[in-house]
């Protein structure tokens, strides 16, 4: 007994020492993100992108001479859980900043925590306009991804290019993102092609296991083309049921989807069953089916593949990566890690990313980032579809 006590004390001291020394130096970033459940498919690659950014920044000497430290937690894509984790990260782990969350359920919820605690929060992927609209904006919230208005503008631009299309049907998951994205698409389409009629709108629930009846109901209205905001497993199921029902043949593959199903993740899941010839988008095409790939992107994908040890990189990592670099640039510009100063520094800040420059709007704290769109094509080198000649769209969007 007498011996065991000092040993335990020594061990405890040894365990504490490096941690205490480390904690003193690092700039801590709390990162709630779904790591379990169906949306972990996206949460994990986003976290990998953020981790890669932290690794690179630290290897180059950190920010203001201090290393970055990422504290990731599983939000389970649940708004309540994300809020609880954000509070815990602030109180218990005394993080300096928040980043992360995936869905448009979690991000607006965490935004309120960031407002209460006056801590900068950078949302990588939430696209719903509610996150930064005039009623909800506050000095500490920033959004890296585009929003549904930007997505709708790009989607309607591509739909308008089908000159002979007169009747369009829409299908989207029945929740905030799906409803917002379809409303934005229709509003934008009315401006460029008032002659197009919306003949049918379908609202399957998120995670719908069976799309057959939605597809046949849609086909009975005989649309010339379809605008779609389905993604992940929903798009996989939709495609596998729609193909034998003859949907893609009936619309001559004129389906436009604005929910990032052009990513390597989605293309790999469907493999040869992918509906080649449709128009889709991605935050990052990863595999560039054309000659216009930026040099910085080639390096990013090589680094990411080395970091994740995966055969193909994910199209979602980029937003995690961009978020961390945005924060690092903000801290550098502010010259300290006080959220009030960093929040001011982020206003109007431009920073370089592997897919081009991004700038936070002074008024609405978002980047209005374009995404990469194109026709999903089969090429000899890959067993899955890739975006041919990815085009950054919309080319211009009225920012504020």
């Amino acid at each position: 007994m007498r011996l065991r006590y000092p040993i335990a004390l020594l061990l405890a001291a040894a365990a504490c020492l490096p941690v205490a020394a480390w904690a003193e130096d690092t700039i801590k970033i709390g990162f709630p993100i779904p790591l379990s459940g169906p949306t972990a498919v996206y949460g994990k690659p986003i976290l990998a992108g953020a981790e890669l950014a932290v690794q690179q920044i630290n290897a180059a000497g950190g920010v203001l001479g201090r290393k970055l430290e990422l504290l990731s937690r599983d939000s389970k894509a649940n708004a309540d859980e994300a809020v609880r984790l954000a509070r815990e990260l602030i109180i218990k782990d005394s993080v300096d900043f928040l980043a992360g969350t995936l869905t448009s359920a979690e991000a607006p919820a965490v935004s309120t925590v960031s407002k209460e605690n006056k801590i900068v929060f950078i949302a990588p992927t939430s696209k719903a306009t509610i996150l930064t609209d005039p009623q909800h904006i506050h000095p500490y919230i920033f959004r890296v991804a585009s929003n549904t208005d930007v997505e709708g503008a790009a989607g309607s631009f591509l739909m308008a290019k089908f000159k002979d299309v007169k009747k369009v049907a829409t299908i989207a998951p029945d929740y905030a993102y799906g409803r917002d994205s379809i409303a934005a698409f229709i509003a934008a389409l009315k401006k460029v092609r008032p002659d197009i009629e919306i003949v049918d709108q379908q609202w399957p629930k998120l995670g719908e296991p069976d799309f057959t009846a939605f597809i046949t109901a849609m086909m009975s209205k005989k649309p010339d083309a379809i605008y779609c905001s389905l993604f992940a497993g929903d798009f996989v199921t939709f495609t596998k049921e729609a193909t034998p029902l003859g949907l893609f043949k009936a619309i001559d593959n004129r389906l436009v989807d604005g929910a990032e199903i052009g990513t390597t993740d989605e293309a790999q899941a469907l493999g040869a069953d992918y509906p080649y010839g449709i128009v889709a988008d991605a935050y990052d095409p990863v595999i560039w089916g054309g000659a216009n790939e930026p040099e910085a992107h080639k390096k990013f994908v090589a680094d990411l593949k080395a970091y994740t040890k995966a055969e193909y990189a994910s199209g979602w990592s980029i937003v995690g990566y961009q978020s961390i670099y945005a924060l690092a640039e903000g801290i550098k510009k502010a010259g300290n890690t006080k959220s009030d100063d960093v929040a001011k520094a982020l206003l109007g800040l431009s920073w370089d990313t592997p897919v081009g420059k991004r700038t936070f709007s002074v008024q609405s704290h978002e980047t209005f980032a374009p995404e990469y769109w194109g026709v999903m094509t089969k090429v000899a080198d890959y067993p899955f579809a890739i975006i041919k000649d990815p085009q950054s769209l919309p080319t211009s969007f009225p920012t504020n």
Binding site: S36, P38, Q201, T216, S220, G233, T237, E241, P244, L245
Partner: protein
């Protein structure tokens, strides 16, 4: 609305119905005979889907690969069912139903995490077997061969199940176990074996349903919970424990959902839940069940 599109909608509803029947029949059977509400039935279905994916990855995606994988899924889930029944369900038979419910719910969580651990969270997908990949034209509409195949499988299993339960020696024993377990035990029959057999049969059905769904749906974590809710609605409509009730319950569910989507596109789920609510009020034991 043309006749062709109404026919398409009807056939779509029938496909949904027959898939649900494959799943709900096992659930209903286990409840009818063993009085166990198996929440984990949807998880067995999910494991069947993952096993089928694994089988297709091991064997070959073309030729007989898919069918071998489906067999593997069916037998694999059946074997899993046997182990679970022998080790865990058996001590719970005499207990209150709440214990069984809690236990099957724990199984849902354990199997869900096990599937994530083994196969990851990435959505997976299996191609349609080449023989059934095409479609045929019926009344000017395009009908996938695979859907027609599913529509044939459902009634086949319903009829086979009915034949075994009502016209064979095994079926007589099973019905006897359902009516009076103690008496059958006292007469010297091995009720334990009958129970295990029924549970394994129900697990096999779940595994098979999981395998057969892979060519037209994606395999994702969470598919277990989604399907079990639908299967329960079917069983409530048709009547707990009634085999034909489950069959017609599935057909009604599929068609109401399908035409509900056509007629009120904004409220796709409303029609089904409204139907369930009406049945629960008017005939709480279901359309084909008997009052408890």
């Amino acid at each position: 609305m043309s006749a062709g599109s109404l026919f398409s909608q009807f056939m779509g509803g029938l496909t949904t119905a027959m898939f649900l029947f494959l799943i709900a029949s096992g659930l209903s059977l286990v409840f009818g005979i063993m009085r166990v509400i198996n929440f984990a039935h949807g998880s067995f279905y999910m494991i069947g889907a993952y096993l089928a994916w694994q089988g297709v990855a091991w064997f070959h995606p073309t030729g007989a690969g898919f069918w071998l994988a489906a067999l593997l899924a069916m037998l694999g889930v059946g074997a899993m069912g046997a182990v679970i029944e022998r080790l865990f369900f058996r001590p719970l038979y005499g207990r209150e139903e709440l214990y069984q419910l809690l236990f099957t719910y724990a199984l849902v969580l354990i199997l869900g995490d096990a599937a994530k651990f083994l196969w990851g969270t990435q959505q997976l997908s299996v191609s349609t077997p080449p023989v059934l990949a095409g479609s045929v034209q019926i009344f000017g509409t395009t009908q996938p061969l695979y859907n027609l195949f599913i529509m044939a499988i459902g009634p086949l299993i319903a009829f086979g199940g009915w034949l075994v339960l009502n016209r064979s020696g095994i079926g007589r024993m099973v019905r006897a176990a359902q009516m009076d377990r103690e008496m059958l035990d006292a007469l010297g029959a091995n009720v334990g074996t009958i129970y295990t057999g029924m549970f394994v049969f129900s697990s096999c059905l779940a595994g098979l349903a999981g395998a057969l769904v892979t060519p037209i749906q994606s395999i994702v974590p969470g598919m277990d919970v989604l399907i079990i809710v639908q299967a329960f609605i079917v069983v409530v409509i048709g009547g707990m424990g009634s085999f034909w009730g489950t069959f017609w319950g599935s057909v009604i569910y599929g068609e109401v959902l399908s035409f509900g989507i056509l007629i009120f596109p904004g409220f796709s789920l409303f029609s089904v839940f409204a139907l369930m609510a009406v049945i629960l009020i008017v005939r709480p034991w279901g359309l084909f069940g008997r009052p408890l």
